[in-house]
Symmetry: C2
Subunit: 281 residues, 2 copies
């Protein structure tokens, strides 16, 4: 597997890179960013995967996420993939909507035509990308964790629940926790996985917990001024599910904050430190 | 003077706003951003003005500058104007180049047609904008300071040298210090001010110091991997001028850093703290 370097910038004494490679999963070129903090030669560092929300590429969190200061201080690698396959041949939402198709892969392996060929973000994020990162960057693959925002929070929580030994920590900003029950999720899971709702349960945090999946603990932050809170995010469902399943959940509601990176960047430092503590253990 | 609010987002317990108003100086609509940190009712806060570089609007530093954490902690208002007048009727570089016209006002009041009508960024930044800020935000107008990047570093240093009592601190990232001697500056000052080079001296940091202008002290950071370092920025000229004039200068050369916001954001915290100490005195 070869990597093309798109850009490299020194930042906080480490290196912020953007890379492109030919993905075996999506059968497209995929772009991602990696921040490597300052480190000793031959060091193997813990790695945090960050999954972005609808409409985003790797660039949103890379430019606006304010994660580098804490990653540099704590010695954490930070990886941010794209949110879908891209390119002229990749099928998109028929109406060009923002919440399906390009920029909206929902971190599933699609089973439905015409999406099944390229939309394999589950396998890309859980298999191909970690292999690539382990092969090209100074990481300790036994110490990885995952976080995400909105659609990416959905990705982080579902991936953690289905791979509880592979990820040592999982957290989210403003996640979609019950895609089977909300408009964004019903559209996406129906479109990528088809109408048989049983197949959706493996990509729904609440359904996964109901079906017995467990994770050590979650940290979830959201803002009470989030415009998507009551219709799409529904954090109260996560609270109920975690309480019933005895999954420790730190769920924080922040007054005045919305769905934007102005919110995420405010609490990114907390999340990085929370992950670092669990990756060091 | 009335302000239109374009956006308001809670961040670091304060408020990041973007505003638009009809400018008397530029005779156009002007957009700027203001971060107001958390504060007590009726508090009057110190204010930092940030001037951006070529091609930027208010948005670049607002999204990528990583200034809010320190401003929130220290109680500083942070104001970021645009870099030129904008709009269909505003004359631009005849060839559409990035280094003159729209996005490249160079913080001067143009005297040459067709630019003299709208390109009045000096008066906008030093007069109109502070009046507007004082009228609409909780600031102490006796405690203001200025910093900038590249073309905006040029703006910050020249404004400080010509208004040493109005600004309590001035610093810069990768500033253009001798526009009369470098390609960007020769094109811009010639285009806005005309061919009589005597008129350029009031907008050239080195010439201003040679002509007797003084400021209490400067902090300047730059990267040794900056692609514009030797042709456009020439920090060694600032070092020489400050040494000869006995102006205290903290000039820091950073190995591996370039001209980007990955560099600026790394050292923004230092600059905010440096300004805060001088604004508190």
């Amino acid at each position: 597997m070869s990597l093309e370097t798109i850009s490299l910038n020194t930042s906080y004494e480490g290196t912020q890179g953007v890379y492109r490679h030919a993905s075996r999963e999506t059968k497209t070129a995929m772009t991602f960013s990696v921040y490597v903090p300052p480190h000793r030669a031959n060091a193997k560092l813990p790695v945090i995967y960050y999954l972005s929300g609808l409409t985003c590429t790797h660039a949103n969190v890379t430019e606006k996420g304010e994660f580098r200061r804490a990653c540099a201080e704590l010695g954490m690698v930070f990886v941010a993939p794209d949110t879908s396959p891209r390119g002229e041949g990749v099928p998109d939402d028929p109406a060009g909507a923002y919440d399906f198709g390009l920029g909206a892969g929902f971190y599933v392996d699609a089973t439905q035509p015409p999406f099944a060929e390229n939309y394999r973000m589950w396998s890309y994020v859980t298999e191909e990308l970690p292999e690539l990162i382990a092969g090209h960057f100074p990481v300790d693959a036994t110490r990885q964790s995952i976080l995400g925002h909105s659609m990416g929070g959905h990705g982080a929580l579902t991936i953690a629940l289905r791979h509880p030994k592979r990820y040592r920590a999982a957290s989210a900003f403003s996640p979609i926790v019950a895609p089977s029950q909300v408009p964004w999720g019903i559209k996406a899971l129906g479109g990528y996985l088809g109408g048989a709702r049983a197949s959706w349960r493996g990509h729904d945090t609440i359904a996964l917990i109901e079906d017995g999946a467990r994770f050590s603990e979650f940290l979830v932050d959201y803002g009470d001024a989030d415009q998507f809170l009551t219709e799409q995010l529904r954090p109260e469902l996560l609270q109920q599910a975690c309480t019933q399943a005895n999954i420790p959940l730190t769920l924080r509601r922040h007054a005045g904050y919305d769905h934007s990176y102005y919110f995420i960047s405010t609490f990114m430092d907390d999340h990085i430190r929370w992950h670092a503590a669990r990756l060091a253990a």
